[in-house]
């Protein structure tokens, strides 16, 4: 951490006078972020998720231990970095969260439609987020490698690309408005470029994340949901094809990036 700090200082010293004040601000932010790394409250959600995976719950009083996340029933490690993918049993491309809900319905007897319309952070939706946190954490350090062999997976990538560039809403924003160019920030927050691999543990490889601003665990579905909210778009349904197609686009672009999930964010 200290070495990194000195590196930033050296960089700042190289910059010309006018840039100096700004370097100091972003250097301060880097220091702040580094201080938060040790002790990520995401650990609390991870522990809860592991517990939920093994617990016998729901009308069928069953655990999720036979859930197929794409690598066969019960295989958790490595599943996250290959999602979204096509599932033959549902004939759909699914992301991690929609797949968890599928398993909760088929194995435990929960009502899929009920869970899908539950607000984030409440009831069974909070459990889906905790499960997603644990499952994704089991792939920490692995590289993203989404399958694109099935034609529906390729189709979803192409649809996701169109959604990424879709300008709409009262402010004409698309995803690309903020995530299309190198080296940009909104206020003091750096914006990853999501049309390519933005680097290890950045962008798609950083969610689920613990958000300190509201003390909530944010899954990818909530991340996309809130991007759309800030874009002034209407409300994207949980697990809707638009959110999954967009995730497919981001995930395929992130190929090779190392997952740092769960992370801690502003």
């Amino acid at each position: 951490m200290r070495i990194q700090f000195i590196g930033v200082m050296a960089l700042a010293a190289l910059g010309c006078g006018s840039a100096l004040a700004q370097k100091t601000a972003s250097q301060g932010i880097d220091e702040y972020r580094a201080m938060l790394q040790d002790g990520n409250p995401a650990d609390l959600f991870e522990a809860k998720g592991e517990d939920l995976w093994k617990q016998k719950r729901g009308p069928k009083a069953a655990s999720l231990e036979k859930c197929d996340l794409g690598k066969g029933p019960g295989v958790v490690k490595g599943a996250f970095v290959e999602l979204p993918r096509f599932f033959a049993d549902t004939q759909r491309v699914q992301d991690l969260e929609s797949r968890i809900v599928t398993c909760m319905a088929s194995l435990q007897g929960f009502n899929e439609a009920e869970i899908n319309k539950t607000p984030f952070g409440r009831g069974e939706m909070a459990n889906v987020t905790a499960l997603a946190t644990w499952i994704s954490a089991e792939s920490k350090g692995l590289r993203f490698n989404l399958p694109q062999a099935h034609v529906t997976e390729k189709t979803f990538y192409e649809v996701g690309k169109r959604l990424f560039f879709q300008r709409a809403g009262t402010h004409d924003f698309s995803c690309a408005s903020c995530h299309g160019e190198e080296g940009k920030r909104i206020r003091l927050q750096d914006l990853p470029v999501l049309t390519k691999n933005p680097g290890d543990g950045v962008g798609f490889a950083a969610w689920p994340a613990y958000r300190v601003s509201n003390g909530q665990m944010w899954s990818m579905q909530l991340r996309l949901n809130d991007c759309y909210r800030q874009q002034r778009f209407p409300y994207p349904g949980f697990g809707s094809d638009a959110t999954i197609a967009l995730s497919t686009y981001l995930g395929v672009n992130a190929k090779g990036a190392v997952s740092a999930v769960p992370t801690i964010k502003r």
């Binding site: 040790d38 002790g39 990520n40 650990d43 609390l44 522990a47 613990y210 300190v212 003390g215």
Partner: protein, 103 residues
């Protein structure tokens, strides 16, 4: 019911560094809900730590400690295998105790 804490206790150089995450809202009492009503303060007031059953630390917190609190401190003389037990109590009287083994 409160969720479990996450306790990590690592021995090095004749002491153990303890890092704790607690699951708690830590409602400040300053926030208003969507209807404009003040949300009452709800926060951990007391934290007590013991090593192998012997009290080693007590702390008092106010509602300005962040949600899902983090605490780090060092216990002198603690070694691998020792048991660290942590208890919190909030202003509603709810309490929780968790234990971890020093590694």
């Amino acid at each position: 019911m409160a969720d479990p804490m996450r306790i990590r206790a690592q021995a090095a150089g004749g002491k153990a560094t303890v890092r704790v995450l607690m699951s708690h809202e830590m409602e400040s009492g300053q926030r208003r809900d969507s209807a404009g009503k003040l949300v009452p303060a709800w926060f951990i007031q007391e934290v007590n730590v013991s090593l192998n059953g012997k009290p080693v630390l007590s702390a008092e917190w106010g509602p300005a400690v962040s949600k899902n609190p983090f605490l780090q401190f060092n216990i002198k003389g603690a070694k691998a295998g020792d048991k660290v037990s942590i208890t919190w109590k909030d202003n509603k009287g709810d309490t929780r105790t968790d234990e971890a083994t020093v590694s």
